[in-house]
């Protein structure tokens, strides 16, 4: 369980990154005129949609990755394919974590015209303005698919987790970790827009940078654990940590 707690904490730390990007969405979804409970409902629906997507990604990659090995579900990585997967995922996580720490330059080639991206952006824009209780849920679902290095890192871990359930749990822990900051942003949304503030601007930049660096450290740590599970012969005990 320690591993999931670590992931949860990484999610909490990483949400300082989210505040900048997705926090804006939470603000934009705004408050419901029918009162605080309705606002909370709106924000919770949005986050539910977002976390469902994360869980889906986690469960799916976990399941697909199990197909690589002959071992059953949730077993220690014994097959060669599983080991290679754990090593690659671990390295990928360390790489992303180091980028968060600012020790590595971001070099991922971002698509120049990004057709899919533009499409996603337009879809989200249309949803953001749509009325009704279903729109935040749909918005959250699509939001979850936005390209995000944090999600990539944990999806990598989910892939190496050895099954649909652990994969799902990895992403669930991460998703729940992002809840506090996102809900806070959603609650502050109305107040912020009245004050004419940029969502990312309310928190001192240094705090946010520290939060992001913190998340990076967590990801590096988790990446090393995943990596170790691919290397250490009796990797199982690390998993039971």
């Amino acid at each position: 369980m320690i591993e999931y707690s670590l992931i949860f904490l990484a999610g909490v730390a990483g949400s300082w990154h989210c505040v900048g990007m997705c926090g804006g969405f939470a603000c934009a979804l705004g408050s419901d005129p029918r009162g605080r409970a309705a606002t909370l409902g709106r924000q919770l629906t949005y986050n539910l949609g977002r976390v469902t997507t994360y869980c889906f990604i986690g469960g799916l990659v976990g399941f697909l990755a199990t197909g690589l090995g002959t071992s059953g579900a949730d077993a220690p990585p014994t097959s060669g394919a599983q080991r290679i997967l754990a090593i690659t995922s671990g390295l990928l996580m360390v790489f992303i974590g180091l980028q968060f720490l600012g020790w590595l330059r971001r070099s991922h080639g971002l698509p120049r015209t990004g057709f899919g991206g533009q499409l996603l952006a337009r879809a989200l824009r249309d949803l953001l303005r749509a009325p009704g209780p279903a729109a935040p849920l749909a918005f959250g679902v699509f939001n979850g698919f936005l390209p995000c290095p944090l999600v990539y890192a944990f999806a990598a871990q989910a892939a190496a987790s050895g099954g649909a359930l652990p994969g799902l749990l990895v992403m669930l822990a991460f998703g729940l970790g992002t809840f506090p900051a996102m809900l806070l942003m959603g609650g502050l949304g109305g107040w912020l827009s009245r004050a004419g503030q940029v969502p990312g601007g309310i928190l001192p930049l240094r705090w946010r940078q520290r939060g992001v660096a913190f998340a990076g450290a967590f990801i590096v740590l988790l990446g090393l654990i995943t990596f170790a599970r691919g290397i250490v012969p009796m990797g199982g005990h690390l998993h039971a940590l």
Binding site: G49, G59, A73, G102, R106, A123, A130, P147
Partner: protein, 728 residues
């Protein structure tokens, strides 16, 4: 965090400093740095404009459907991976029930539009791809529901919902891809709907271009499209007239200068007074032509449609047989899944797009350079052309008489020209105008002549400073008894041999010089012909002119073959001959004198003639002075054909391989749905590559319209030289 020492660049969206390579993107005309692609997208979401409630409604349905389908999928994955294996059968029953509860609304939300489409098609006795998907999803759902009620061991709600979700998603992406393909075409179709800002005594009002009348005063801001023909009243700017002239170099415009509807105003606001009704502009005519062209399907598309229509019933039968076959060998569950996979993977969606999208993109690309085609099939026919026949006068040559050479007896050529121009100055004859023009070009001021006698068609006699001077034909000089000096006879013969007509110039009883008059080659003629030859096409010059003149032009431009002295009927015979010898022939003419010849060619191409394709015998019309566009147009038609072929190969090959895998039981239905959605997306992506087909380069600068606009915005203040005029 040492990098933060210098002022860091902040991400426009999340305001975090950008380390290393950021991501720069233009959003609404401004450059914004972003720390990551996600922020770039999010920024566009937040800043974008346009409220499309219908799109939003569709997306909400898709989002809710995805939410339900993902939950179903998660539970199913847990079932598959044996998470509930230890639990007793009751727990499994509960999970199955939960799946059923989730799948029912998902089926209705995602499937409803497809069921409706299936029903509509069925009442019209047709089967479409929606039929296949509806049937597949419905079957999976009904079977699973039955299994829950009967206490069966396996349910396939995940298959039912994922099929619908993936199909819907594929359609959505495909539709967006098409919308993107149309994005550049849209302004070509909207000529009469384009808004015009009318200025009327201090008030501004937006009206559609079709309501513009003569004298309407309109304001066009930088970056806007000029939607009316008119004259600049106030302001100065550079405009891009590519849509009309095919020339994407900016042209300077100031007060008193005419502007054309359809051009894009770059850097300054212009106040324009309309000179014609908004429905009669060339751009409006282009828009009508493009609209008609798009309505005409290409041969390939018609064929693909016919195949696709026959495909669906075959697939239905095949799926039925597959289920029967496998039901006898394995469990009914597996047989059913195999049958579903067959239904899904064989969906011929990509086939319907293969030709239409590529042709449309091609027509759009051409239209943006002012090149009009009659329909999709023309692009296809042009790509199959093996011989390109050129008309001479007005196509390779300017069609206007000009001075092409001067021979003298030793007198300076300028002196001869000075006298000739002086004599011809008062005449309106084309030859006379050509002489005066030549003098002007060489900066020779015509001599002051007191005219004495003019014999129409023969020559003119006059007086310069009391001395008799004359200009005219050789026969005229023989008539008045002036001698041709021996030194000039050779030169005159040389000029005559080149196929030009000659005029003699003389004074004081003697001929002093000979001017050759002919049809001047267009400056781009040689490069164009060479480029066409370089593409491996046979080039032919067909002309009604004398052989000498034709041979000179043929040698200068370097065509493969030249046939001269052909009356129009013989030109048609020549075309037939070349067609028999080498294959399909394209004929390029001015569309005025050679209309029947253009009509007789496999592809008739008119340069700069009537803009109304409906009244034109040619299938392709290039803009005025657009001969140089020819190689690009042919190249584009090749690219379109390549795209169609790869699309069709892909769609067919993919479907066949997928079908073989599915029938043999090697494909999961969900995987089949992923493959099927991927197939049509790949067709869209492959077609969109046409967007990247190199645009024509004007001068040294590679032309990229968007890049250019960006540059123009950035260097708004820098003056730019006007277009260099081609030397006559």
């Amino acid at each position: 965090m040492s990098a933060a020492a210098s002022t860091p660049v902040l991400c426009s969206h999340c305001l975090l400093p950008i380390r290393g390579y950021g991501h720069e993107r233009q959003v609404q005309g401004e450059d914004h740095p972003f720390c990551c692609y996600g922020c770039c997208l999010a920024f566009q979401v937040a800043r974008g404009e346009g409220e499309e409630s219908e799109a939003a409604w569709l997306l909400i349905r898709l989002g809710i459907g995805a939410f339900l389908a993902m939950n179903i999928m998660l539970f199913s994955l847990l079932l598959y991976s044996g998470t509930f294996e230890q639990a007793d059968a009751e727990v499994r029953q509960v999970v199955h029930l939960v799946l059923w509860v989730l799948a029912t609304p998902a089926l209705l939300i995602l499937g409803w539009p497809l069921f409706q489409e299936t029903w509509r098609a069925a009442t019209a006795r047709r089967l479409t791809s929606a039929t296949l998907i509806s049937l597949g999803a419905g079957m999976a759902y009904a079977y699973s529901a039955l299994a829950v009620v009967m206490g069966g061991s396996e349910v396939y709600f995940d298959t039912a919902t994922m099929l619908l979700l993936l199909f819907t998603l594929g359609r959505y992406l495909e539709a967006s891809g098409r919308a993107r393909a149309m994005r550049d075409l849209a302004p070509m179709l909207a000529a009469e709907r384009e808004g015009v800002t009318v200025v009327d005594g201090g008030t501004e009002m937006r009206i559609p271009a079709r309501e513009v009348t003569i004298g309407t005063l309109a304001l066009v801001r930088p970056g806007e499209r000029i939607a009316l023909d008119g004259v600049v009243v106030e302001g100065s700017s550079h405009v891009d007239e590519a849509v009309i002239t095919g020339e994407s170099r900016p042209v300077a415009k100031g007060p008193g200068v005419a502007v054309l509807s359809g051009s894009i105003n770059h850097d300054g606001a212009l106040l324009i007074r309309s000179t014609g009704p908004g429905t009669a502009t060339r751009w409006a005519r282009i828009a009508r032509s493009v609209r008609q062209a798009l309505a005409q399907q290409s041969h390939a598309q018609r064929l693909a449609d016919r195949i696709a229509a026959g495909f669906v019933p075959v697939v239905l039968v095949l799926a039925g047989l597959t289920i029967l076959f496998w039901a006898q060998r394995t469990s009914f569950d597996e047989a059913l899944l195999t049958g579903l996979a067959v239904l899904v993977v064989a969906c011929p969606c990509g086939l319907g797009l293969a030709g239409a999208l590529a042709t449309t993109l091609g027509i759009g690309r051409l239209a943006r350079r002012g090149c009009l085609v009659r329909g999709g099939q023309v692009v296809e026919e042009l790509s199959g052309v093996r011989v390109v026949a050129f008309d001479k006068t007005g196509t390779l040559t300017s069609g206007a008489t000009c001075v092409t050479g001067i021979e003298t007896d030793g007198t300076p050529a300028d002196e001869v020209l000075r006298v000739a121009a002086g004599l011809e100055r008062s005449s309106e004859h084309p030859v006379a105008r050509a002489v005066v023009k030549a003098a002007t070009q060489r900066r020779v001021s015509p001599a002051l002549v007191r005219p004495a006698r003019a014999v129409p068609g023969r020559g003119i006699l006059g007086e310069v400073a009391g001395q008799p001077v004359a200009v005219g034909s050789g026969a005229w000089f023989a008539e008045i008894g002036w001698q041709v000096p021996v030194g000039l006879v050779g030169g005159a013969h040389r000029l005559e041999a080149a196929g030009d007509s000659l005029i003699y110039v003389g004074w004081a009883g003697q001929v002093r010089g000979v001017l050759a008059l002919g049809d001047a080659l267009l400056p781009e003629a040689r490069a164009t012909v060479q480029a066409v030859r370089g593409m491996g096409l046979h080039t032919v010059l067909l002309t009604g002119d004398r052989a000498e003149a034709a041979d000179r032009i043929a040698a200068e431009v370097g065509v493969n073959a030249c046939e001269a002295g052909l009356p129009p009927e013989s030109k048609q015979a020549a075309l037939a001959r070349w067609r028999g010898r080498r294959g399909p022939v394209a004929m390029i003419g001015d569309g005025l004198n050679d209309a029947p010849v253009l009509a007789a060619a496999d592809v008739g191409i008119a340069v700069g003639s009537a803009t109304d394709l409906a009244r034109e015998t040619a299938e392709i019309v290039l803009p005025e002075g657009g001969l140089r566009l020819l190689p690009w147009v042919i190249g584009l038609s090749w690219a379109v054909r390549r795209t169609i072929i790869t699309n069709l190969l892909w769609a067919f090959g993919y479907n066949s391989i997928g079908l073989a895998l599915a029938v043999s039981g090697h494909l999961q239905p969900i995987l089949a749905a992923v493959l099927m959605a991927g197939s049509s997306l790949l067709v869209v992506a492959n077609s969109l590559r046409l967007e990247r087909f190199a645009d024509l380069s004007d001068g040294s600068r590679p032309v990229d319209a968007s890049a250019f606009e960006r540059r123009a915005l950035r260097h708004r203040t820098r003056p730019r030289g006007s277009t260099p005029q081609p030397a006559a």
